[in-house]
């Protein structure tokens, strides 16, 4: 049909990764808060925020520690924009838009650089 807007996959991909990020982080946060609610022991905060590697390692090892779950949710939330930018790069590459693939990768590199610098 003339004038019909073509639905490119990039919008669908970005939308899905954003929804995944929000829902997974919210689920982990709610799980952590619920676990804290039902916990019978005290829940001291660590003296410093744990590294993302440690949090996700504990999570994948089946930890149900409320603090781990909550930090995992918060970290998932913080990483969602990173995933969104990477997805945009993939989408622009699929559309063979070289300029915006490079722009997306530059943004991802800046974000990744900030993350690595912060956690050094």
């Amino acid at each position: 049909m003339e004038g019909e807007i073509t639905h490119h996959p990039i919008e669908r991909w970005i939308s899905r990764i954003l929804r995944f990020g929000v829902w997974s982080s919210a689920t982990l946060m709610v799980a952590g808060l619920a676990a804290a609610w039902f916990s019978t022991s005290s829940l001291p905060l660590p003296e410093e925020n744990p590294s993302p590697t440690r949090v996700f390692r504990d999570l994948f090892n089946g930890s149900l520690d409320p603090v781990v779950l909550m930090f995992a949710g918060l970290l998932m939330l913080m990483l969602t924009p990173f995933l969104r930018v990477l997805t945009a790069a993939a989408g622009f590459a699929a559309e063979k838009d070289r300029k915006f693939t490079i722009i997306s990768l530059v943004i991802f590199a800046m974000l990744a650089g900030e993350l690595l610098y912060s956690l050094r």
Binding site: V22, L33, R84, V85, V106, I107
Partner: protein
Amino acid sequence: MTVESFLLLVAGGGIAGTIGALLGLGGGVFLVPFLSLVFDLPMHQAVATSILAVIATSSAGAAMNVERRVVNLRLGMVLEISTVIGAILGGITANMLSGQTLSRVFASLLIIVAFLMIWRIRHLRLGHTPPEDGLFPATFKDESTGETIAYASKRVPLVSLIALVAGNISGLLGVGGGIFKVPAMNILAGVPIKAATATSNFMIGVTAAASAFIYFSHGHINPFIACPAVLGVLAGSFLGVNINRRIKGGALTWIFAIVLLAISVRMFTR
């Protein structure tokens, strides 16, 4: 943490998210003072929590707007280059400042935001740049009128400069920066207001994420504060978007501008 504190955090986040959605702002301008004045949270923790809330509302809103193709992806990605640089610098700067200094800078921002909120009611541009007259042409369907609008963006370097400043403020003070980006895109670039708002909302999540790990590495994120506040802001944003369709914003904007001025005075004098 007591039950009362938990509920108060969720409620406070919910109110901040609702007001932010009603006024086209992120919740940060209300959440940071709430955490600082009501919970007496150190300013850096309040800013860090607000940054997480901004990521949440941006991601949730953008998920819908991107799919509806209201967001100008290419314009947003280009502006993100400068806004991310600004946010990283803002996050680094914030952790060099004392809590009191940060509080006073935030109070000053509230005054600027209050005046900008009133100013943009009167100066928002109804027209837009024709697609052949600018960069990053795009189209979207305005659901309120059923009209398909084609437009492009002018003065992108100038808007990028404003995005850099907005990103810096975001990293420094935990707000989204949309109060600067939306007028810049609408008035300077000629982007229709709905596309400008959606594109700004799309960008502020990345802007906030650019400084989030800086605050994380300094230990400013308390999950017992951040989780209920973020969940409250998310819920409030969904509510605010639905209420927004039914009410006129003019009177609300004046009320909240006055509220922001009052909060600013309180933050200056504490």
